[in-house]
């Protein structure tokens, strides 16, 4: 059952955490700090203890001393991160646990309360059926029944209210601890901040929804916003609710800062360079950027918008945009693949605009890579999709908050990206503002919530139109047998789903690599050989400009239906 708390309106759900992991990280951060400290001692011994003349000796002394000093901020930051982890770990072990422990009781009390309400109803309607002709004992019994039912109801109601109160109290304490941890991490670099900046960070860190963040951001003073842009661009660049213009500028600043502090070795250096070219050469705007996320850096780039006009003055990038599309790919191996997805995003914008000329369509498309793509052979596909769905939901809520409801939002999930996209939209209590949900080259979408995310309710796509490209009948079954979400569902079979033609393209193979989706000849095949003409571009399959599936997607986006 999905219940909501009476006073704060919070959904009754389990608060996820792993005490063992949190404690482990905290302990290991301590060990790491100690190891760093030991290394500093050794280095300072060389600096202070190495006597003698000669350039070599002087040099190694000063290098050692310098290195020891350079380690100071890293070790100090690690200590602050450890404090954040400890505080949060303690809080969840107490408050999240307390809240979670009450869930079963609340559900039982709710059921009992509902039963008591029904009983009172029954007793009252029985009493209403009494007439003056009934004998005294009948009427007395009826009256007693009502009285008994009333006092039962009072008892169940009071018990339920009491449980809710305790649950809300525990949840509120967890909520505070979460916000404090976020604020603590923002400040973990140890920069000394003014009270005004500190309070701005606290307010933003404790906001629970993008709408709240927007309100707080608007309420900050110009100096407060400037201070945040200068000191923590990576924080506000990724915070849903901060206006997109500010986020794009902040993420660019964060990107520049990070590249300047490099190099970092491969593969990061090439990934960062490739991402940078999307921004400078292809007019991409960086909407999300998490360069050090493990195991892979994640990012989202938006195409088809401008942040400044002809005179170089800033403008709202979403002004005049009628359609926003989010491309969620499934088989990314790294951030470098954003290059190909960026091209698909620009193609989609162009063809959506062209198909939608009469309706004045102006399309913007986000190439979204916000999660670790699954490795078919070794990882649970559902685990990656679950985490990815949480991040995608956050992006979609933020988008819903940023643009007016007249903007048409379409999410296009390719291959395993469709698993993530469908879980995000179907698993949310509302439609996240998504008008069109499109599965192309899908290997199956989940047929229920994954346990560790939100519970056991069925998927709910109401408010969203579903489209799915035709796939060979056995494709979903083959993957369903081997993936960890059981059999999965062919998206074409979802109620109300509209199928559209697709004449091929590549799909993932179980043993790695790709194979033709439908085996049709022509451009469905990959031709990357080194021929006499030079190398031919590898075929995108489903999203190639000349492919039927791509043109269907463009028309769905522009006109709400396949070709």
């Amino acid at each position: 059952m999905s219940l909501t708390s009476p006073n704060r309106g919070w959904a009754l759900e389990k608060i996820e955490y792993d005490s063992g992991q949190l404690e482990g990280i905290h302990a290991d951060l301590g060990t790491l700090g100690d190891a760093g400290g030991n290394a500093q001692i050794v280095l300072r011994n060389i600096d202070g203890g190495l006597e003698g003349r000669g350039q070599s000796i002087t040099l190694v002394q000063s290098e050692s001393g310098t290195l020891a000093n350079r380690m100071n901020p890293t070790i100090a930051t690690l200590g602050r991160i450890a404090d954040v982890v400890r505080a949060y770990g303690e809080a969840v072990a107490v408050h999240a646990k307390a809240a979670n422990d009450l869930i079963d009781d609340i559900e039982a009390a709710h059921t009992a309360n509902q039963a008591a309400i029904a009983d009172l109803d029954t007793a009252e309607s029985s009493q209403r059926q009494c007439t003056p002709d009934d004998d005294a004992s009948t009427r007395a019994t009826a009256e007693q029944d009502v009285t008994d039912a009333e006092s039962s109801l009072a008892a169940t109601r009071s018990a339920l209210e009491d449980l809710w109160e305790r649950w809300e109290a525990a949840y509120a304490l967890w909520d505070d601890a979460y916000g404090a941890a976020v604020a603590g991490l923002v400040r973990s670099d140890g920069t000394t901040l003014s009270d005004a900046t500190l309070s701005a960070i606290d307010a933003l860190a404790n906001a629970d929804t993008p709408a709240e963040v927007t309100e707080i951001w608007d309420g900050l003073t110009d100096p407060q916003r400037d201070a945040l842009r200068r000191t923590y661009p990576e924080f506000i660049g990724n915070l849903e609710g901060v206006p997109y213009l500010d986020r794009m500028l902040a993420n660019k600043a964060a990107y520049d800062k990070i590249v300047e502090a490099g190099p970092y070795g491969e593969p990061l250096d090439t990934q960062f360079a490739t991402l940078g070219l999307e921004l400078t050469d292809f007019d991409g705007q960086l909407l999300m950027f998490n360069p050090f996320e493990q195991p892979q850096a994640t990012a989202a780039v938006m195409y088809g918008v401008s942040i400044s006009d002809e005179n170089g003055d800033p403008i709202d990038p979403m002004e005049g945009i009628t359609n926003v599309n989010i491309l969620v790919g499934g088989m990314f191996s790294s951030l470098e693949d954003l290059e190909a997805w960026g091209e698909s995003a620009r193609n989609l914008n162009r063809y959506a605009d062209d198909y939608g000329t009469d309706a004045g369509v102006r399309s913007a498309t986000i190439a979204w890579y916000g999660y670790d793509s699954p490795n078919l052979l070794t990882e649970h596909t559902m685990g990656s999709a679950t985490e990815g769905a949480a991040t995608l939901s956050a992006t979609l809520r933020g988008l819903d908050n940023e643009v007016s409801s007249s903007v048409t939002t379409s999410v296009i999930g390719h291959s395993y990206g469709s698993t993530t996209a469908f879980l995000a939209v179907g698993g949310s209590s509302d439609n996240l503002g998504v008008d069109n949900l499109i599965a192309v080259g899908s290997a199956g979408v989940p047929d229920g919530y994954h346990q560790s995310w939100t519970g056991d309710d069925a998927m709910d796509y109401s408010g969203t139109r579903i489209y799915a490209s035709r796939a060979p009948g056995d494709l979903v079954a083959r993957y369903g047998e081997h993936s960890s979400f059981g059999h999965g569902t062919n998206p074409e079979e979802l109620p109300g789903a509209i199928s559209f033609e697709s004449d091929g393209g590549t799909v993932p193979k179980l043993d790695g690599g790709t194979e033709n989706g439908l085996g049709t000849p022509g451009h469905a095949s990959h031709d990357g050989g080194n021929t006499i003409w030079g190398w031919w571009e590898q075929d995108n399959g489903y999203l190639a400009r000349d492919s039927e599936s791509f043109r269907n997607i463009a028309n769905i986006v522009a006109n709400g239906e396949p070709l």
Binding site: D358, E537, E548, N555
Partner: protein, 215 residues
């Protein structure tokens, strides 16, 4: 509701093919530096010549330009490591009654130039489209002209992949400049002179970029 057709060029030997062979014969080693830029520029001018001719047949006035699909920026998407390609798109509006005649003249022109031309019809009603397609010939992986019943016409081209490091090439051509800050024209006619690369700090099509805009 999909139809495809193909026309084989009358001439069996493509003039461009010979040129391509000659270039590749001694140039399979990966170029760098000035040589990389020079080769890239030649490839750019060559392919733009073809797309400009096609655009001129459709409409010889200014076509709007979008930075991301301008077609001068080297990209590694879909290419093997150590190679780059160009990708261009232009759209305009014409009277739909002209489509049949225009697509025929584009087809004829391409055949005369020695290409095998394919075609494709998709959709119906206002979303009905006709594509004139050249696939994997000459300098092109995919050269396509799309006529949509609502009057939209687009010319799109993806070139083949040539050897060269795209990050190095972009750096040599643009020096890290953000092209949307006035370095590319907002509209362009097929007869406009072509240029290759930009001078960082001197945007030719807009005001001098201001420091990072703050709202």
């Amino acid at each position: 509701m999909k139809k495809r057709w193909q026309t084989i060029a009358a001439t069996a030997v493509l003039a461009l093919a010979l040129t391509g062979c000659a270039n590749e014969g001694d140039g399979m080693a990966t170029p760098t530096g000035d040589e990389l830029v020079a080769q890239a520029e030649q490839h750019y001018l060559d392919y733009r010549g073809v797309t400009n001719d096609i655009q001129a047949l459709i409409f010889d006035g200014p076509w709007p330009v979008e930075v991301g699909s301008f077609g001068m920026q080297p990209s590694g998407a879909g290419c093997p490591d150590g190679s780059y390609k160009f990708d261009l798109a232009r759209s305009t509006q014409v009277d739909p009654a002209q489509h049949a005649a225009l697509s025929e003249s584009v087809r004829e022109h391409l055949i005369e130039e020695g290409y095998d031309v394919e075609g494709q019809d998709l959709g119906s009603g206002e979303a009905k489209s006709t594509d004139v397609i050249v696939r994997k010939q000459g300098d092109f992986s995919l050269l396509m002209v799309t006529f949509i019943a609502n009057g939209s016409v687009s010319v799109t081209a993806t070139t083949k992949c040539w050897p060269g490091d795209r990050i190095e090439l972009s750096d040599l051509m643009f020096g890290g400049a953000t092209l949307s800050e006035g370095y590319l024209p907002r509209e362009e006619s097929p007869s406009d002179p072509l240029f290759f690369g930009v001078t960082p700090g001197e945007p030719a099509f807009g005001p001098t970029p201001k420091p990072t805009a703050t709202p």
